[in-house]
């Protein structure tokens, strides 16, 4: 069977409309009338994205100010010029994606999963190029401390970003959660780069980078869970 024949089947099937009961339309009109008042459309994508990025930068800086800028102090100019602009660029890219997830029917250029993969790979590449100390002292104990510190700072970054975009509507809560988690994870990595003076390649490649996918996974799970809980009891 050819595609054209299947198209014909769709056309025939679609020509069998079932009339919509006018009472249903009347009921819909009546139900929205009492609460119909002017609303303010969402601000521009750029404005919302800037707001979200500023939140992430503020969380990273506040965390590092509290814990100490030891990592930044130990970095040379080349490391600073490569690590922080990469983090900033990724944060901007993911923030725009997050904003698009909070606007129904936005054009999706890069999917949330692709953004997560891109962020993780970009960080791995930058860290692999810059850090060449291949010793692995206290690999697990130091690593888990850094992972937890990154995730602890990802939580306020994610929640505050969500607050900035609270007027939006996530048509796919899991995708929005995933991308919010990715962004929060980038904020967590930002804090670690400012704070952590452990420049061993294995430590940074594994434990610092891991903050992004772990935070994204938490975000996706949280989004799914919130959607399941806030689902209306009707239908």
């Amino acid at each position: 069977m050819k595609d054209e024949e299947i198209d014909d089947l769709w056309k025939k099937a679609a020509q069998d409309p079932q009339e919509l009961d006018p009472r249903v339309l009347q009921h819909i009109g009546d139900s929205i009338k009492p609460t119909l008042r002017p609303v303010r459309p969402l601000p521009s994508v750029g404005r919302m994205a800037v707001g979200v990025v500023l939140v992430c930068v503020a969380v990273s800086l506040a965390g590092a100010a509290r814990a100490g800028f030891f990592g930044l102090a130990k970095m040379n100019l080349q490391e600073r010029l490569l690590v922080f602009p990469t983090l900033g660029l990724l944060a901007c890219l993911v923030a725009v994606g997050f904003v698009h997830q909070m606007i129904p029917a936005s054009r999706v250029r890069i999917s949330p999963r692709a953004l997560l993969a891109l962020s993780s790979v970009a960080l791995l590449a930058v860290f692999a190029v810059l850090f060449r100390d291949y010793h692995t002292d206290h690999f697990f104990s130091a690593g888990i401390t850094c992972l937890l510190t990154g995730l602890l700072h990802a939580i306020p970054a994610g929640l505050l970003s969500w607050l900035v975009l609270r007027r939006g509507f996530a048509a796919s809560a899991a995708a929005a959660g995933l991308i919010a988690g990715t962004l929060a994870g980038i904020a967590g990595v930002g804090l670690l780069e400012l704070h952590c003076p452990n420049f061993q390649a294995a430590h940074i490649l594994v434990w610092h980078t891991a903050v992004v996918p772990v935070s994204a996974a938490f975000g996706a799970l949280l989004g799914r869970e919130l959607r399941a809980r806030t689902r209306s009891p009707k239908t």
Binding site: D3, K11, R167
Partner: protein, 216 residues
């Protein structure tokens, strides 16, 4: 390769033009001035204009209802889903961005409501053997010309919604991609897979018919 993913011609010329999203919804509705489209009505609706809201309800509801019928097979469900969709549309009407196509925005919200409803049904049906068997028998039913539910039966949920938007509602690939928060490539891939599945199902049904006829 028949039904290749790459070419627009595979899905019919009407879905590839897609330049004027709301042009296909043309009707005269009270409260809708001549030359007005969904986008301008949406802006007026955001400004609190009840006539625009009524015009929108009357113009887009039959299409949303048709979409729900094509994907849920139950008139009662479609009525409920339509009402719930409008309640949600009303609640999040500020998320429509003036200047953007309105139709994908409506369908994105309708899809959200439908997916919630579907998940609820799946959860409710989990563990109920009878329902499981019933759904199995429905999904193995061979499609025949003229029956929308039978044509949709072998398709997965995501394929059904994409086919319903593209083939039943006549939306463009770009509009479907926006409504489903995916890329045009992903929509094409879903349609390609849906057509492949349909060809197989129809082919199987045809050969079974021939075999039965031969035996008789």
């Amino acid at each position: 390769m028949p039904g290749a993913v790459g070419g627009c011609g595979d899905f019919g010329a009407d879905v590839c033009e897609g330049a004027e999203p709301s042009a296909k919804i043309s009707m005269e509705i009270p409260g809708m001035h001549s030359g007005e489209n969904l986008e301008t009505l949406m802006v007026r609706y955001q400004q609190g204009d009840f006539a625009a809201a009524t015009a929108l309800i009357e113009s887009i509801s039959p299409h949303l209802h048709h979409f729900f019928l094509a994907t849920s097979n139950s008139r009662a469900d479609a009525d409920d889903l339509l009402q719930e969709t409008w309640l949600r549309i009303h609640k999040v009407r500020h998320t429509y961005r003036p200047g953007e196509p309105a139709r994908p925005w409506f369908y994105a919200i309708a899809r959200h409501i439908r997916v919630d409803h579907y998940r609820k049904i799946v959860r409710a049906a989990a563990g109920e053997r009878e329902l499981e068997e019933m759904s199995k028998s429905v999904s193995s039913a061979p499609p025949h010309a003229g029956g929308l539910d039978a044509l949709m039966a072998p398709l997965s949920e995501s394929q059904r919604e994409v086919i319903a938007m593209l083939k039943i509602e006549g939306m463009s690939l770009e509009e479907v991609a926006r409504a489903t928060s995916s890329s045009v490539g992903s929509v094409k891939q879903k349609v390609h897979r849906a057509y492949k599945k349909l060809r197989e199902t129809i082919g199987r049904a045809g050969s079974r018919k021939c075999r039965d006829g031969g035996l008789a």
